[in-house]
């Protein structure tokens, strides 16, 4: 059970570092960043709120509030769905694309340097394989940072 505690602590602590870095340097939370990332990978650079919620492990209300902020910042805008009037898409804007590109550079570099410092390539693959089994880790393989 030690393993679990280590995993959790290490994870939250590392993610906190990255999140703080993102916030400070680019004014984005981890979820802001990942939302932009998901949008950038999506077809037409747009996603339904429901799908975003699933991928980000947030509730729908969480997504509503997240997008409120991103819309106010002009990084995302609303889009309607022709075939279903209930859905409103989140669509990446030009500004969002640019902001993501800026943030991505330093964020990925930070992650890479931490991981490459701590683990060999072989170990990283082992980790990825094992941790991929955790519930919630598998779905949304589009989450990748690289």
């Amino acid at each position: 059970m030690e393993a679990w505690v280590r995993l959790l602590r290490g994870c939250t602590s590392a993610s906190r570092v990255f999140s703080a870095q993102l916030t400070q340097e680019h004014g984005l939370t981890i979820n802001d960043y990942e939302a932009l990332l998901l949008l950038s990978r999506a077809e037409g650079e747009r996603l339904r709120r429901v799908d975003l919620a699933g991928s980000l492990l947030l509730t729908q209300s969480g997504v509503t509030r997240l997008l409120d902020g991103l819309e106010q910042a002009g990084l995302v805008e609303k889009g309607t769905c022709a075939s279903d009037a209930r859905v409103t898409y989140a669509v990446l804007t030009e500004a969002g694309r640019e902001r993501l590109a800026q943030a991505s550079a330093s964020h990925v570099a930070g992650i890479r340097s931490l991981f490459e410092e701590l683990f060999t390539r072989q170990e990283l693959e082992t980790l990825a394989g094992l941790l991929g089994r955790l519930p919630g880790a598998a779905e949304g393989e589009s989450c990748g940072v690289e």
Copy 2:
């Protein structure tokens, strides 16, 4: 970098499940639980707030608020330090000890069953070894659940 995203997602999702279980069955958050656990392992079943903050990866103000709740629930009480008037100890009460014992049983069982379902003993050791390198994971080996 995939590895990192998987790790984070899997971790947060699993921890959310456990946390929800704890909250529902015992009225304790993960941090409540771990604070009680740390206290139960500490000498004299008491700890300084600063030390608790370090182990729980919370800020001092976070600890103040966490303990506010635990004190109101009667699971923890304040203690003074003879040699330093600035510190107030958090001391486990009898009620706290009992609550921890109840929660611990189902919590540990839950974690154990998830992990044993997903990983072999060998894999668990590999994971523990690798993840132990993450910053923040090493300190406070007293965190153990087993």
